[in-house]
């Protein structure tokens, strides 16, 4: 059995272990931007089954073992682990407003780029990483409303083939690592050239992504910002009114924009002045 180092992500600390040494190396590379954890750890474990699939479990600090998923193929195993880490990280901040957003930052602060799956979040985060911008997340943005700071969640950036085709050349994967990815590839932002943030960054704008033929960045009203935040919050359904009020506070003080774009380079140029990059 091989084990990774201990990672800390929001309120969740974990290490990963498996009887598949190459898989442990893949996970260690993908999660290399996360800070080290100390204290009590959960252990995410992927064990090889005789049929070539994996069984994924989570051992809580108490020792209790929770079954996460069985019969996971080699092509799907990193995606399942990434989902589990996301889920636990999100639950650890259930009382915070957590946005479904990529977050990139420059000298002026951080911008949350909100959108559902396939809205271009990760692709823009990867393009920003390739430009050397500061990276906080490609998927979840936990926000401390009292300080208006967005906390980093530098999980690996998830890129599908469509998104990969829109980016500059990607770094080569170490030999054998490609065997563990299907259409979804996971790359640490630092592999792409970003500085992965480990401390909170002031939130200066909230942007809602929309694919469109004509590129534009349009300010939206505070109520439209709140409504879009409601649609892009991952913790509102868990925590209800307290998170709604936190989102209201956020919409009141942080400007909201609708970003329409057809090409990632257009999105980057429109976001650039917001972060001062």
């Amino acid at each position: 059995m091989t084990t990774t180092r201990a990672y800390h992500v929001l309120g969740f600390s974990f290490s990963f272990e498996s009887d598949d040494t190459a898989l442990v190396e893949v996970i260690d590379r993908c999660y290399r931007d996360l800070p080290a954890a100390d204290g009590e750890l959960s252990v995410l474990r992927a064990m090889s089954m005789p049929d070539g699939s994996y069984e994924v479990t989570l051992q809580h600090p108490s020792g209790e073992i929770e079954m996460c998923e069985g019969f996971v193929s080699r092509f799907g195993i990193v995606a399942v682990i990434a989902w589990e880490v996301n889920h636990r990280a999100e639950l650890s901040r259930a009382t915070w407003p957590v946005l479904h957003a990529a977050v990139t930052a420059g000298p002026l602060g951080a911008v949350a780029l909100c959108g559902q799956s396939r809205s271009g979040k990760s692709t823009i985060a990867a393009a920003a990483a390739q430009l050397g911008w500061r990276h906080l997340s490609d998927d979840l943005a936990p926000i401390d409303v009292a300080s208006l700071m967005v906390h980093p969640y530098a999980r690996p950036i998830m890129l599908r083939s469509g998104g990969r085709g829109l980016l500059d050349e990607l770094p080569d994967m170490p030999a054998g690592h490609g065997d563990y990815f299907g259409d979804e590839w996971f790359l640490a932002a630092s592999e792409l050239g970003a500085v992965a943030e480990t401390s909170p960054v002031p939130l200066v704008a909230i942007v809602f992504l929309e694919w469109n033929d004509a590129a534009e960045l349009v300010p939206i009203s505070r109520a439209a910002t709140l409504h879009a935040l409601v649609l892009n919050s991952t913790t509102l359904g868990l925590s209800g009114e307290p998170v709604f009020r936190a989102l209201e506070q956020l919409a009141t003080v942080v400007p909201g924009y609708r970003l329409r774009f057809a090409h990632v380079s257009e999105a980057i140029e429109l976001v650039r002045p917001l972060v001062g990059a």
Partner: protein, 109 residues
């Protein structure tokens, strides 16, 4: 079985906000969110004024009168729009005692 909005929203009906509905008023607009169904709505100024009139005491015709006064219009000029807006609140599940339209009910409920 509760009635549907188009069956009850008439001039004498008293719309009551659902217990799980929270509202935020920002500038000339508002956002409604139902913490049970997780439905939300962005209201423009007119809809916001109508929603804020749904205080659990006023009838539809009293809300019409308030809206008409606010916009300096005769009550008859706003009746249809006010009733339609209140019906939409009901169809969206935001009113107590009114069944949401079938497409607003989550499949697992």
């Amino acid at each position: 079985m509760m009635p549907f909005a188009d069956e009850v929203v008439r001039s004498g009906f008293v719309p009551i906000p659902g217990a799980s509905v929270v509202a935020a008023y920002l500038d000339d607009e508002a956002v409604l969110y139902d913490t049970s169904s997780r439905h939300s709505a962005l209201l423009n100024r007119t809809s916001m004024v109508i929603w804020s009139g749904c205080d659990g005491r006023a009838t539809v015709s009293e809300i019409c009168a308030r809206v008409a006064r606010l916009f300096s219009l005769p009550s008859t000029a706003v009746e249809a729009d006010v009733e339609a807006a209140i019906r939409r609140f009901g169809e969206s599940g935001f009113l107590h005692g009114v069944d949401p339209a079938p497409e607003m009910v989550p499949p697992d409920s």
